[in-house]
Symmetry: C2
Subunit: 220 residues, 2 copies
């Protein structure tokens, strides 16, 4: 009987799979939103959550009133997916249409972060994951806010990255078809920041936002 | 004992929840990549998959050699998450940092599409979900390609949408802090199309790609 492959081993398109920590971390660090999956009595749930990577763990948070966060915090098996779509791959055949992407699927379990200083630090880390440098530009969580918030640390037990990049794959017989083929790149770009009120409008844009917009400019 | 709420009912931030079909469909139609969750012996899996909405179903596809696609096709309970991040919400407190987003969580089961004409149509639909109008600009799947591909139809049994938009939520006491606050919008934008080869480079950009780029231009 064939041995079952490890749960995180990529079975299809193995050439696209990567298991090294740097590849996994780079993809996680490029994102801010994960889809977190878990099972309750055989029923799967997938919920979108903001995250921040901290070493080989992912910090998550949610309201203490959240049933799903409480369920996750009980330490059940979870699976977290993060995917960036980098381009549309348009082939001459329907079959070879695809996207360029970078994805990570990580398996592990979450535990509650209880210690107040650790919770404050985790929430600051989450703010910096949203936009680097922002935690220093805003007020840390106070006691009431900490009491209202569950912070979870998801320990990555196994993870795999999968990356498709480059050009169009095409059957030789299709190369004579009169169809355009190619890749249309896509990226996330930021628009004009909208100040919350007159007081904010009177301030210069903070360094975090200026750096974010400069990063956009640097993309070809 | 309190009755358990339905699996798709949003428990937190109920003001952001929507259950009407139009809201759910609009969010699904704005995307192309879903995170598909399911359980195997209590172990959750979350995998990124391209999708196309067809009425109250989502079309998915994958290689017949894919263990996960075969598992899904057996008709087990699945949960599909689709999320668009529309902006970074930067508050004066860490606690009120957030994102503007539109998300759908859909529960249901997938079945295999077997009939060849239905498979051909489903794959064309998936190509058009990637970029509208593209199916007519490329070759439909042939018999060998159909034989290599599983097409799944995921019937949405229940779904909820959740939307956060608008501005920054702030505690009154924080309004005097000397911090900038506001929303930084974000969108997906497309770059310069890269033709696959000299033959494609000699052709004009197809209507599908021109329309996509025009959509980008129309975003403020």
């Amino acid at each position: 009987m064939p041995q079952q492959p490890p749960r995180h081993h990529v079975q299809r398109s193995k050439v696209r799979a990567r298991y090294d920590r740097d590849s996994v971390h780079a993809i996680l660090d490029a994102g801010l939103l994960a889809h977190v999956g878990f099972c309750v009595d055989g029923q799967p749930f997938v919920i979108p959550m903001l995250y921040a990577r901290d070493g080989d763990t992912l910090l998550l948070h949610g309201s203490i009133a959240s049933r799903l966060v409480t369920t996750l915090a009980a330490g059940i098996d979870a699976c977290i997916g993060v995917t960036h779509v980098d381009g549309l791959v348009l082939a001459r055949s329907h079959f070879h249409h695809s996207v360029n992407y970078r994805s990570v699927v990580a398996f592990g379990r979450a535990t509650l972060v209880d210690e107040p200083a650790a919770k404050v630090a985790a929430l600051a880390h989450l703010v910096d994951a949203l936009i680097p440098g922002r935690a220093a530009e805003s007020r840390p969580a106070d006691r009431n806010e900490l009491a209202a918030t569950h912070v979870l640390r998801f320990a990555i037990e196994d993870a795999s990255a999968k990356v498709r990049d480059g050009g169009v794959k095409e059957d030789a017989a299709d190369l004579d078809l009169p169809h355009w083929a190619g890749v249309v790149p896509q990226q996330v770009r930021h628009g004009t920041p909208a100040p919350a009120d007159a007081a904010a409008a009177a301030l210069p844009l903070p360094a975090s936002v200026r750096a974010l917009l400069a990063t956009d400019e640097a993309v070809p």
